[in-house]
């Protein structure tokens, strides 16, 4: 007998698929979670970004046209050259990047990468991404400074999950790369970004 058949033979159940599905759905009804006031999404999200484990800085722009100036401000504040890893996302490439050195593949020691999150989650301050031809994953983990544009907020993590088929990777970034592996002491920038900068789009 194959390993598969052997294992499954020991796990036969009596419930019908419909009964299992009904039970699984019932287990999701009215889940307990830290309450988020729908009227205060913005405030809650911004408060989460200040948690020690998240520790993001925040800026705000009204339209996409203001994005390059916001990046210039960030670079100036952190003494960084105007060199940027920019994914081939048409919403980003449509901006005027004159004055910047732009590339779309992250170097092993990439200093600065920009990305657009699909949504931000007020409950946790998480930024939600999906991979695709215009959205590589590696730059968001290789760069020392991770700048993320957040066009829209949702209340809970469940609001950020996808209905239907999943892309190759669906991921939530909640802060900077951190470790407490040496004597429990917190260090930022363990493997990935040491700095997270969130830019909220819209008024």
């Amino acid at each position: 007998m194959t390993a598969r058949a052997d294992i499954l033979a020991r796990l036969t159940g009596t419930s019908t698929q419909a009964a299992i599905e009904a039970e699984a759905a019932a287990l999701l009804r009215a889940p307990e979670r830290p309450p988020v006031d729908p009227a205060l999404l913005e405030e809650t999200f911004l408060a989460r970004l200040t948690l020690p484990s998240v520790a993001a800085t925040v800026d705000r722009i009204a339209t996409m046209a203001d994005l390059p100036a916001a990046i210039t401000r960030y670079c100036a504040d952190h003494g960084l050259p105007a060199t940027l890893c920019l994914p081939p996302d048409p919403r980003l490439t449509a901006c005027d990047w004159s004055g910047f050195a732009i590339h779309d593949t992250a170097a092993p020691d990439e200093a600065l990468a920009l990305a657009i999150a699909r949504v931000g989650v007020a409950e946790t301050g998480s930024l939600v991404f999906e991979t695709g031809p215009a959205a590589p994953m590696l730059p968001n983990f290789l760069a020392l400074h991770h700048i993320v544009l957040v066009p829209r907020l949702v209340a809970y993590l469940e609001d950020a999950t996808l209905p239907g088929d999943y892309p190759r990777a669906h991921y939530w970034v909640t802060g900077v790369s951190g470790t407490t592996d040496i004597e429990g002491t917190y260090v930022r920038g363990a493997h990935g970004p040491r700095f997270l900068h969130v830019i909220r789009l819209g008024d």
Binding site: A3, L11, P136, D181, G184
Partner: protein, 463 residues
């Protein structure tokens, strides 16, 4: 080495006590704060336990569903009955891919099945990318905690290890500088690896996704650049949907580190798609039984709820004294004391369920309400039934039972023993006691009162 010897060594190690206390103490305090900030935490734990029980009850259904969806997404699913079968599959895949080096993202299941050893035997280079796993790979040790595998190491020891092995090691003796040294060293290895190997925090049945959770981001950096991603996961890691995973994630991070959510939560669904700019060409998922179906059949189904948060050990008075290595298995602490007899056999590990005060703290903090003390008692009973307890204990208990069934004689014997103990302990303490040298070797026994509690109670002295 026997459990007793390992415990004696651990207790004599001053550094260990300090190191365990620093990390577990901090984790305990942070968990308390996180739980206090989540008003319905107790109800959330009930639901989490119900979700896991539902999955374990319908495990066959969900595994087939997961397999179908993961396959549809382009991943290849493999099944392994034993640790050996799982290692053979992984080593076979690495060899077929011509892999010279693999980057491994911390996985307790990988430790459980002995994957590091199997890769070494096959001559495949391995870099552990979790900072703590990197430390213990350098020191040639096993993890001492499931969340903080190097919690037994002091910063001075870590510094010496890094200086001996990193090409450009830190100069400043700070923890931040040491972490930076590891970042430089490990990044090279991750970007050059041929295969990335991870475990899974969750396997999502209705999408076929594999979920990993890290704070360092080492999973993503280990799994995205190489051309092959191999997942080894216990069959109990299944959840019905992403939203069920969300519920468990809320409890996992709070119970482990006190954070509302870990920094990086990633759902990987199959290999690189058309047009994707990064990701592996192949994704393989090895579903590992290794005793889990047997646990489900043999009264240990509740243990399959475990989401590996480590809260039980952080709150365990025994773990806090002896650390993780003394347990001698892959998993330490209360959950380890339940799992190790199932994996390694009760005969070899009957000391573990006995090394427990049954204070119930582990069950109190468990996010999925595993009745750990009950399961530990179950092992004790089984050990007794199978005659695994030493002859001295069996005859001693027999003698005690003989007296206990004869109350008059029992009271007379107790009174006589009290008189003898008072004579021996005139100074107020007894430094030696026949049949109890295991106790008096390390501490003195206080001189008992003149009469037993029962005798005093009968006389009406109730204060």
């Amino acid at each position: 080495m026997s459990f007793d010897t390992r415990v004696a060594e651990a207790l004599a190690d001053r550094n260990l006590k300090l190191a365990v206390e620093r990390t577990a103490g901090t984790a305990e305090a942070k968990r308390t704060l996180a739980v206090d900030a989540f008003p319905d935490f107790d109800a959330a734990r009930d639901r989490a336990a119900a979700i896991k029980d539902h999955v374990v009850a319908n495990l066959g259904h969900y595994l087939e569903r997961f397999e179908a969806n993961a396959t549809a997404a382009g991943a290849q699913v493999h099944w392994a009955r034993t640790a050996q079968e799982a290692c053979d599959i992984v080593v076979g895949l690495c060899k077929a891919a011509g892999a010279k080096s693999v980057a491994r993202s911390k996985s307790m299941l990988g430790e459980e099945i002995g994957l590091p050893h199997a890769l070494a035997e096959a001559g495949i280079g391995r870099i552990e990318t979790d900072l703590a796993e990197h430390i213990i790979q350098l020191s040639g040790e096993r993890p001492s905690h499931i969340i903080w595998p190097a919690m037994h190491k002091t910063r001075e020891q870590v510094s010496a290890l890094f200086k001996a092995s990193h090409r450009v090691a830190h100069e400043e003796e700070t923890i931040a500088a040491m972490a930076e040294s590891a970042r430089r060293h490990l990044r090279e290895g991750m970007l050059a690896a041929d295969v990335g190997i991870s475990g899974a925090n969750f396997l999502v049945a209705d999408t076929g996704a594999v979920c990993t959770v890290t704070n360092e981001g080492n999973a993503e950096l280990s799994l995205v650049p190489p051309r092959m991603h191999i997942v080894t996961a216990g069959i109990e890691k299944i959840v019905p949907s992403t939203d069920h995973a969300v519920h468990l994630l809320r409890l996992l991070s709070r119970s482990a580190t006190g954070a509302p959510l870990s920094q990086y939560t990633t759902f990987y669904t199959g290999p690189k798609r058309a047009g994707d700019r990064d990701g592996p060409e192949e994704m393989h998922i090895v579903l590992v039984d290794n005793g889990r179906t047997a646990m489900r059949e043999d009264g240990l189904a509740e243990m399959l709820r475990c989401i590996r948060c480590g809260a039980c050990m952080n709150h365990c008075v025994v773990f806090r004294q002896i650390g993780g290595h003394a347990y001698g298995g892959t998993y330490p602490g209360p959950m380890g004391a339940v799992l190790t007899p199932a994996f390694d056999g009760l005969k070899q590990s009957r000391d573990l369920p006995n090394a427990c005060t049954l204070n119930g703290k582990c069950q109190e903090v468990c996010p999925v309400r595993i009745p750990l003390p009950t399961l530990l008692r179950g092992w004790r009973e089984k050990s007794w039934r199978e005659g695994l307890e030493p002859a001295s204990l069996r005859s001693g208990l027999g003698t005690w039972a003989w007296f206990a069934r004869r109350p008059r004689l029992y009271r007379a014997a107790t009174a006589a023993a009290l008189r003898a103990m008072r004579l021996m302990g005139r100074s107020g303490w007894l430094s030696r006691l026949p049949l109890a040298d295991g106790w008096t070797r390390y501490r003195d026994m206080p001189r008992p009162t003149e009469e037993s509690f029962m005798a005093q109670y009968k006389k009406g002295r109730r204060s």
